[in-house]
């Protein structure tokens, strides 16, 4: 049965309601889970940065080959060289965290710039930008990355720069479309008539208030994508190289032992990939709903 209730007989100001009454439960769960994952990733990143780990992730221990999870001292067990899987998982975050942020910031800043110019100015420059974004879009991302790897070296930062650039068209198109949509409703015109500076209109009224949800979802999706790309390239052997740990090469090296019954060396990083990407995507989804539905209430 669906229940509709009013918290008190006085009409409360919506903005003063506690946040759990303001938004849908499912969105709060998404965001909560997403934030938890982000916090875990951040924490692990810091732990890895200062090397505060239970074990040295590269230390080989020949006495403890393929120790199952929950062995004393080795919470998630060890891999085929006796290296601690938990430490390697935590260290694996180093492989994508900063490069992923780099990729996101390249696609967001490039996308915002091109999108605003195309959407707000229009005309010839918009046509040029559209051609550029179409050009970038039409090139398969993986092929481009493999080209870069072949031409330079298999470095994760090179890969992420390419990923950032190939992410520009999506952001630019989304922003330009949003601005075009906003221009139909004439509040931009009204803002000009009110005497607001163009800078204020673009930064405050368009980007901050009307595009922030879009930018957040692009950023979180971008992070998820960066993780996926890094792990798959490392899995294929193009990204982070052994013995340096990465979730991708952990899955790859563990996979050889999977059918022998030693499932944990590859399952642990695989689950980490799954839950992390899920977390970033759900965070974007939930935040999008929470930030977007203000105008409906």
């Amino acid at each position: 049965m669906k229940k509709y209730s009013q918290t008190s007989s006085v009409i409360e100001d919506f903005s003063k309601l506690p946040f759990w009454q303001k938004y849908a439960v499912v969105d709060l769960i998404y965001v909560g889970y997403g934030l938890l994952i982000v916090a875990l990733v951040l924490l692990s990143y810091i732990l890895g940065m200062f090397n505060w780990l239970p074990h040295d992730p590269q230390q080989i221990n020949m006495d403890m080959l393929m120790a199952p999870p929950a062995t004393a001292d080795y919470l998630l067990g060890t891999d085929f060289m006796g290296r601690d899987i938990l430490s390697r998982l935590i260290m694996g975050i180093q492989a994508y965290f900063l490069p992923g942020l780099l990729a996101i910031s390249i696609s967001l800043s490039g996308g915002i710039l091109l999108g605003v110019v195309a959407g707000y100015r229009g005309g010839t420059i918009e046509t040029i930008i559209t051609y550029f974004t179409n050009l970038v879009d039409s090139f398969p991302r993986l092929v481009l990355i493999l080209l870069v790897i072949a031409a330079f070296k298999p470095d994760i930062y090179y890969i992420m720069v390419v990923m950032g650039i190939t992410g520009v068209p999506a952001v630019a198109t989304a922003i330009a479309n949003k601005i075009r949509f906003l221009a139909q409703k004439n509040f931009i015109e009204a803002a000009i008539a009110l005497g607001l500076r163009t800078r204020v209109i673009i930064v405050k009224h368009i980007l901050w208030y009307n595009c922030r949800a879009l930018l957040i979802i692009q950023a979180t999706l971008g992070m998820g994508e960066a993780i996926l790309l890094e792990t798959s390239l490392s899995y294929l052997g193009f990204g982070v190289q052994e013995p340096e740990p990465s979730w991708g090469n952990m899955v790859q090296s563990g996979a050889n032992y999977f059918l022998q019954g030693n499932f944990w060396p590859s399952t642990a990083p695989a689950l980490a990939i799954l839950f992390t990407i899920l977390g970033f995507n759900l965070l974007g989804d939930g935040l999008n709903n929470i930030l977007e539905d203000k105008r409906d209430k």
């Binding site: 009409i11 100001d13 919506f14 903005s15 003063k16 409703k185 004439n186 509040f187 015109e189 009204a190 803002a191 000009i192 008539a193 009110l194 005497g195 607001l196 009224h205 208030y209 009307n210 203000k294 105008r295 409906d296 209430k297």
Partner: protein, 367 residues
């Protein structure tokens, strides 16, 4: 006589139709005056150039070629200037037989000049309210914050707290119930009428000299329309603000205006005191105004279930403006004596009575 607050002279705003390779003469030589503490109503069918006139004043025309000629003098206590000053440097118009054949325009230069000229006027000296009020408010910012922003931008109340108080005061002034509660509402939570009230509050919060109301009641339902008109009438008498009121609704115009300009096909065809222009029985009456007035259904007509009196024919094609009178094709008052002139020569706006001008050969004073 006092200097008028706003004096538009021979304003021309053209657009270009790419498919037809010709100019759309949206506003073609409009001259208007808004005096101090005066409301001038501009009335006409859709496509007669009313809104484009208002937007030209505000410098909001962004598609080319846009404003190509004329002058707009603005003279308030604080600012006196021609809003189209320096325009002639950016626009070169080639004319042939009194028709514009080509326009070359330095868009960047024009944009820059316009920005510079309008910078301290927009919102502060000239405020504008639009039709479709909900679309004119930012959907993601509470109305209170939007008004606060306008207050902080244009008045001496720079601190947030002061500006908020001022915003609440204006919300109260435009008769929004429980203004403190509505302050935190998003535009979507307000009805169309309330949004328009908020827009009016925002426009008036900077205490401008001139308010341009572009179809302020369009898109609202009839009872709300009349309430908005009541509000505007009240604010007008309280603040004495000059208003350029644009509407196709004659009842709105007649309730608020001191003077009325009737526009047809981008030109003013009749301009004079409201009582005279909107008086059905006046002896001198432009045929278009007469037809417009006749098309308003009266209560008697509705009781009789009589047919509505539409104006025959279509709105003037502003691309192919005929050489004669703009209204000639639809005019039902052409007399044989003037027929030839009507078809071939454009009548001038001539005074038929003190302060009452008309563009019609029937009332033309023989030169």
């Amino acid at each position: 006589m006092n200097q008028p607050l706003l004096k538009i002279e021979n304003l021309r705003t053209y657009f270009y139709s790419r498919s037809k390779h010709s100019f759309v003469r949206a506003v073609d030589g409009v001259s208007l005056e808004v005096g101090q503490r005066e409301t001038v109503g501009v009335v006409g069918e859709s496509g007669s150039g009313k809104s484009i006139t208002a937007m030209s004043v505000m410098g909001l025309i962004s598609t080319g070629p846009g404003v190509i000629g004329g002058s707009i003098h603005f003279a308030s206590a604080r600012v006196q200037k021609n809003l189209l000053e320096g325009l002639h440097k950016c626009v070169k118009v080639e004319e042939q037989d009194g028709r514009v054949m080509a326009v070359s325009k330095d868009e960047r230069g024009w944009q820059k000049t316009a920005e510079r000229l309008m910078r301290d006027l927009r919102g502060k000296e000239i405020a504008m309210i639009f039709q479709n009020p909900r679309a004119s408010l930012n959907p993601y910012i509470t109305v209170g914050e939007q008004i606060t922003e306008a207050v902080r931008l244009h008045t001496a109340n720079k601190s947030v707290r002061e500006a908020r108080e001022r915003a609440v005061y204006w919300l109260e002034r435009v008769k929004i119930d429980s203004p403190r509660l509505r302050f935190n509402s998003y535009p979507s939570a307000l009805s169309g009428g309330m949004c328009q009230r908020a827009m009016i509050a925002m426009a008036l919060s900077s205490e401008p000299s001139l308010l341009i109301a572009d179809e302020p009641t369009t898109g609202l339902d009839a009872t709300i329309q009349s309430k908005i008109v009541d509000l505007m009438e009240e604010l007008k008498s309280e603040t004495g603000i000059s208003t350029l009121l644009i509407s196709h609704d004659i009842s709105v115009i007649s309730r608020l205006s001191d003077r009325v300009a009737v526009m047809y096909g981008g030109a003013v065809v009749e301009y004079g005191p409201a009582q005279r222009v909107l008086d059905m029985g006046a002896a001198t009456k432009h045929p278009y105004t007469a037809a417009l007035l006749a098309s308003v259904p009266s209560a008697q007509q509705i009781r009789d279930k009589a047919n509505l009196q539409a104006i025959e024919g279509d709105v003037l094609d502003t691309i192919n403006v005929p050489p004669g009178c703009r209204f000639y094709a639809r005019c039902n008052q052409v007399t044989p004596a003037v027929r030839e002139k009507c078809a071939t020569h454009q009548p001038e706006l001539q005074e038929v009575a003190p302060g009452h001008q008309m563009r019609c050969w029937r009332y033309a004073v023989p030169a």
